[in-house]
Symmetry: C2
């Protein structure tokens, strides 16, 4: 299912020209950085994960003020990397709903550690969340995943 991703070396005995592997190195950290290493991607994921945002408009209105062309570009890239997916809203033909994939929701521990690190070394807001994470990191993560599963079920049942 998550197969035809990065390799693409061979196919039926014939060596085929590599389609995707334009990574700077094999290092897993480098892979993460190439997918997430910019000033916006992780914030978009944060708002999907923690605030339940789904639509372009929500991402635009709230937030640290992302430019519309950058938002469109980041959503495209996140889709290309399999971190989010877009589906048309069944009730409003103009709308697209952006949802985290399994790969996307698996970023919960990464976000958690980044929040905890910043909160430990900078003056930051959202102390309630920080305190919750300090108290029981694993619970926060499993709650996030639980909510994600519920929301996906709702999508699926809508017909």
């Amino acid at each position: 299912m998550v197969d035809s991703e990065v390799e693409g070396g061979e196919s039926a005995g014939r060596i085929v020209k590599q389609p995707k592997p334009k990574r700077r190195s094999e290092c897993p950290l480098n892979a993460s950085v190439e997918m997430l290493g910019d000033r916006w991607s992780l914030l978009i994921i944060r708002d999907m994960m923690l605030r339940g945002f789904r639509s372009y408009k929500e991402f635009m209105e709230c937030y640290e003020g992302i430019a519309t062309n950058i938002l469109a570009d980041r959503l495209r890239r996140l889709i290309a990397n399999g971190i989010i997916a877009a589906e048309p809203d069944p009730f409003d033909g103009r709308k697209l709903n952006y949802l985290l994939t399994a790969k996307g929701i698996d970023l919960a521990p990464v976000l958690t550690e980044m929040v905890l690190w910043a909160a430990a070394h900078e003056n930051t807001g959202n102390q309630p969340l920080v305190r919750q994470m300090r108290k029981d990191k694993e619970k926060v993560i499993s709650d996030v995943k639980e909510r994600w599963r519920r929301d996906h079920k709702v999508e699926a049942h809508r017909d």
Copy 2:
């Protein structure tokens, strides 16, 4: 020692104009992204943390091929954010040794989760490290910290 960092609100009873708080928001994740959200910073930290790199030359030679001006800029920023520090090499007046601060070494859990995430969803290299992390994440982190403490001791004793 690492005091005059981000706040800078007041000084001897007089309210002074804020010098640094140009963060886009109070969100701790945003703080992390503003300090680390680019294509190079975390890789530099990786090589200091996991490979023991200390000098400009090492960062240049190895690596995914960073440009020299970008490396200089990233090192400056990491210093400005208190994540690394530079000290002259006691044996070679040309050299500077870049070292992780406590704040820098505290990024170990963040790097670990990013490595595990990428390794779970992409085809990546350095499988020995990945396996070690999967087996006992906490041990990998405490080993990294232990090594950091030792190396700092060596620095301090050198006189």
